[in-house]
């Protein structure tokens, strides 16, 4: 293990351009002539790029990495890929642990002689687990409703106009920071709130990584929408991909997820464009929302 660790350190030093020239040349050559080393190097490089993309490199390593990897377009592209991959992996929900699978695997030694008995036992066990899960889910949903309430304000119905600026402050002291880090802040915006008199203010806690703007739509006319976040001077700051709406009784909703670090403390205009993907693709600006971000 210690040998591997030494090799790993040596490889990282080489990748960051910190190895002495003679060692660097030797490893350069090894990359070509030694398949095992070449594979090991590629894996270490993947991990190094990932660490940077996730913000896990600090101090000298980070500076050295930037000097090496951000200076070459080809390597810069690899860093951008790592960032996108890391975001997508973070967005994936962890696969739930299957207790039934563990249970059956544990008893697999008796699979032939006791199969009928095991099947019955497994079925009973699963039934018990299912009942317990249902109870837990229902209980958690009730708890979640209470817990989410301060972060995700109740959507304002489309027909009820917002009359005055309001501030939505997430309760930082009441909730552990770890919750903020993994949970996005959710802000709800009613249709047609561009007028600064009705602009809402939202506080984005520091440790939040993502902000979801839940845009209420008066009616859903398009299958896809695009959202552009602009400053009050109409300078675009961020553009979404194509987003599908969620249709409800009072119109529709559009969930727009924006990385929190893209939001500075200022007023933003959110422009909503409907996209028609028929034989002749068209798009039309439908609505604008306004809000003020406080950090």
């Amino acid at each position: 293990v210690s040998n591997n660790a030494t090799n790993e350190k040596q490889i990282v030093r080489y990748l960051l351009g910190q190895a002495p020239p003679a060692e660097s040349e030797r490893l350069d050559e090894l990359c070509f002539i030694d398949e095992d080393f070449s594979a090991q190097l590629q894996i270490s490089e993947d991990d190094l790029i990932d660490a940077y993309a996730r913000g896990k490199l600090g101090g000298d390593e980070r500076n050295q990495f930037e000097r090496k990897y951000l200076a070459v377009p080809y390597l810069r592209e690899r860093v951008r890929f790592a960032k996108v991959l890391s975001d997508l992996i973070k967005a994936e929900k962890p696969k739930p642990t299957s207790w039934a699978e563990k249970f059956l695997r544990y008893f697999s030694w008796a699979e032939i002689s006791f199969r009928p008995l095991l099947t019955t036992a497994a079925a009973a066990f699963l039934l018990g687990i299912a009942s317990l899960s249902t109870y837990t889910i229902l209980r958690d949903q009730d708890h979640a409703k209470v817990a989410e309430a301060p972060i995700a304000p109740t959507p304002t119905p489309d027909h009820s106009p917002v009359t005055s600026p309001s501030v939505n402050v997430a309760p930082q002291a009441a909730t552990p920071p770890a919750v903020f880090k993994s949970n996005p802040a959710v802000f709800v915006l009613s249709a047609g709130t561009r007028d600064s008199a009705t602009s809402r203010s939202f506080v984005v806690p520091r440790k939040i990584e993502k902000v979801i703007f839940r845009l209420n739509l008066n009616e859903v006319k398009y299958a896809r929408y695009r959202v552009v976040l602009k400053t009050r001077d109409e300078i675009p700051v961020w553009t979404s991909g194509e987003i599908a709406p969620i249709t409800g009784k009072l119109g529709g909703t559009l969930n727009v997820t924006i990385p929190a670090d893209k939001l500075a403390p200022r007023t933003y205009i959110i422009t909503l464009t409907g996209l028609n993907t028929g034989p002749i693709p068209t798009e039309a600006t439908i609505d604008e929302y306004s809000c003020r971000i406080i950090k």
């Binding site: 002539i33 090496k68 080809y74 951008r80 997508l88 992996i89």
Partner: protein
């Protein structure tokens, strides 16, 4: 200039070396039933990739061009003197030695040129580029497109492979190490074999994303 004849000779040399290598390493990755042309092609791709990485790590701004220049030069030398194919049993080493010269030439040529601002790391930029804001916005838009492309590429992987990537890269430091250990046990692979498999899948994703993104960029242009 790389002609079909010189290229064919180069492939033949790579193929012979590959066969020798396979004899000495019977567990080598390529299947024995793989057609010869394909084997030679694989060997060529691998060498080219190593050359690109070599030049990129040496901070060359044009690694692809330098890799191709090295290949052309090696092919030219073989065409001019076929005895090299016998006297140099390890093409990889020959490519490396040629690449070193190509790199030194590149350095000499660069000395006579100015420094390209885009090649400098952000910390060494002499001043703020007036187009920075527009560029940042463009990058944000590009990241959105990259995410869309990656989602598309994800669908081109088998669910098992995507699951492997998710589990392999999930978590930080100690958690990640533990995840990888469990994953290797689950898949009945050695840790090293798991690393290699994950790297190959990642590489496929990266290639797919680059193709998709560049294709999308071209269609938008």
């Amino acid at each position: 200039v790389l002609t079909p004849d010189t290229f064919a000779k180069l492939l033949q040399w790579l193929l012979e070396a590959r066969k020798r290598n396979q004899l000495s390493k019977p567990h080598a990755s390529a299947n024995h039933s793989t057609p010869h042309e394909e084997l030679a092609g694989l060997e060529y791709e691998m060498i080219r990739e190593k050359l690109i990485s070599y030049f990129a790590r040496r901070a060359c701004s044009i690694p692809f061009e330098l890799a191709d220049k090295t290949i052309t030069r090696v092919a030219g030398r073989i065409a001019a003197d076929e005895t090299i194919m016998r006297s140099e049993p390890e093409p990889a080493r020959f490519f490396y030695n040629t690449a070193r010269f190509v790199f030194l030439e590149y350095l000499r040529e660069r000395k006579n040129e100015g420094i390209v601002i885009d090649d400098l790391p952000p910390s060494q930029h002499p001043s703020v580029n007036p187009n920075d804001l527009a560029k940042q916005e463009e990058e944000m838009f590009e990241d959105e497109r990259r995410i869309e492309c990656l989602k598309h590429c994800k669908t081109e992987l088998s669910p098992d492979n995507w699951e492997l990537i998710i589990e392999y890269y999930r978590g930080e430091t100690a958690e990640k190490i533990k995840n990888r250990k469990l994953l290797a046990e689950k898949l009945k692979l050695s840790p090293n074999a798991l690393n290699i498999r994950a790297h190959r899948i990642r590489k496929r994703l990266e290639e797919c994303l680059n193709n998709c993104f560049n294709g999308a960029a071209k269609s938008l242009a």
